[in-house]
Amino acid sequence: MTVPATTSTSPVPVRSLQTRRRYGDRTFRLAMLGAAGVVVLVLLAMVVFLVAESWPALAHYGPLSFLGSDRWAPSDATAASTRPNPYGIVQFIYGTVLTSVIGLLIAVPMSVGIALFITGIAPAWLRRPLSYLVDLLASIPSVVFGFWGIFALIPALQPVVSFLIATLGKVPVIGGVFAGPFFGLSYFTAGIVLAIMVLPIVTALCREIFATTPADEREAALALGMTRWEMLRTAVLPRSRAGIMGAAILGLGRAFGETIAVTMVIGNNVLSITKSIFSTGATMASVIANEFTEAVEPFHLDSLFVVAMWLLFISLIVNIVGKLWVRRIRGDLVW
């Protein structure tokens, strides 16, 4: 937008001022758009360079052979042999999905409840402090959660898990999923830590979604003599269902990528998929963090890049789906 300056009260001749301004304006605009372009470039470069870096392994073993095995045994790898692929990654994908699902099964219902309480039930003076406290949970570093998980959470989980093993573990068909023994480091422990870590994010999203329900409908519900809970159940929850789904997807994206805390409490068992959620495992992120600086076997580092590539692809898909979903229901969202 150029504004013609017709008055000549300026000490500088109007014409030169205008051309200088036009030139300056254009340079400025280009600089800003250039910075925006960096963002696009970064994402493209990530995809290109991760694929390129994992290419040697993909070419050597065949791109799909990584998805055909759940055994990751770098010591089996030799420079020449191509089959069987010693770098199976199915167990990592399984571990990532399982821990994230455990985390979300706990975090999403809690988040919905907390967000309902904060937006609909808590007295006005309490809303800000409560939101603030829950947000604070998000600022605790991952490495601290992991450390705390090992020394504080695991001992506390022990009796709970013993109870689950003794009860659910005895149920015929699903018993194996809850089978013992439990030594602390496990998918389940990682899932609990993830639940705590995604809780503030999902809660913040839910809070925003609930805040968008029209006030007149809430008031109408209350005017009909409903309790506050009935009001939330009939006026707020039904129209927020899609939004909660979106929040859950974005929380899932977050859980997929969580690395250090999970690495510290999952046990890093890379050898196979284990059926019980109380046994040790590994995730895509945890195997990278755990082995990256010690990857000395043939194609070991390249294969870790294959894991990184899949992790990038999966989290891109989850985040794009989540973002589009949330956008579809309510314009642009903050988180």
Binding site: V3, S142, W148, A152, T203, E258, F305
Partner: protein
């Protein structure tokens, strides 16, 4: 039902309190002035020493990451809000996607484009953290710029001020407090990051390293390394480090709130 919902909130707050008090209790056993002035002992199994090199490393690496990410982030946000169009709409979307990229993948990316050529270094760590911070800075800034009233821009234009000048002298200053809040939150996030640094800065338990072209330790890396050793002495240091890290992060997070409250343009 109301009581049930209140109980859920209580559980979340109790977990927060549990983590904070546990870390504080463990950390205070070891935390002392020497922790901030000494480097770890050569043998991780022996007591004594501190995380001076990690604390300094964190400050240098996060400081550099901030210097890199803030100009780019603010400029990109200006492009998104002030020069809207299809390209910047796409940038806005990609920014949101970038927030969801696992930070370990960001670390792997920097490893490929930097570390394979120049080796592990504090600078590589800064690049990785800058990429972690960038989308956060963009989003916070864009959100704030959108809150700057249009009439301010119009008033500036009516005075014959150019678009660029308007943005630099009118729009950005009125959003300054909000942008600072966003930057503080991004710094808090970067301070706690460990995964991308494992692949870039690598860590350095031995001595104080001030030169960013060399491999460097950070507070988070030292906590991670010491926490998973079996040595009680190392774990004692790690708890003190965890407490220090939480305090630093909370200072930034709370600082962000304080600045945010004084902002001239307010969130609706």
């Amino acid at each position: 039902m109301t009581v049930f919902l209140a109980a859920l909130v209580a559980v979340a707050v109790a977990v927060l309190a549990w983590v904070l008090t546990y870390v504080a209790a463990q950390g205070l056993k070891y935390l002392g002035p020497a922790f901030f002035t000494h480097t770890p002992p050569g043998n991780p199994a022996s007591y004594g020493g501190g995380y001076a090199n990690g604390i300094v490393g964190s400050l240098i690496i996060v400081g550099l990451a901030t210097l890199i990410s803030v100009p780019f982030g603010v400029a990109a946000a200006v492009a998104i809000v002030e020069y809207g169009g299809r390209f910047t709409a796409a940038v806005s979307f990609i920014t949101d996607v970038l927030v969801g990229v696992p930070t370990i993948v960001t670390g792997a990316f920097i490893y490929v484009i930097w570390v394979t050529h120049f080796g592990f270094s504090g600078l590589a760590g800064s690049f990785a953290l800058a990429l972690v911070m960038l989308p956060l800075v963009i989003r916070a800034t864009a959100e704030m710029l959108r809150l700057v009233p249009v009439h301010l821009r119009e008033a500036s234009a009516a005075l014959g001020v150019s678009r660029a000048r308007t943005i630099v002298s009118v729009v950005l200053p009125s959003a300054r407090a909000g942008i600072t809040t966003g930057v503080f939150l991004a710094v808090a996030r970067a301070m706690g990051e460990t995964a991308p640094l494992l692949l870039t800065a690598l860590g350095n338990q031995e001595f104080m390293q001030l030169h960013p072209t060399q491999r460097m330790s950070t507070l988070s890396l030292q906590i991670f390394t010491d926490a998973i050793t079996g040595f009680q002495a190392a774990q004692a240091r790690a708890w003190a480090g965890a407490l220090t890290l939480i305090i630093i992060v909370l200072l930034f997070a709370i600082g962000a709130r304080v600045i945010g409250r004084r902002t001239s343009v307010t969130r609706s």
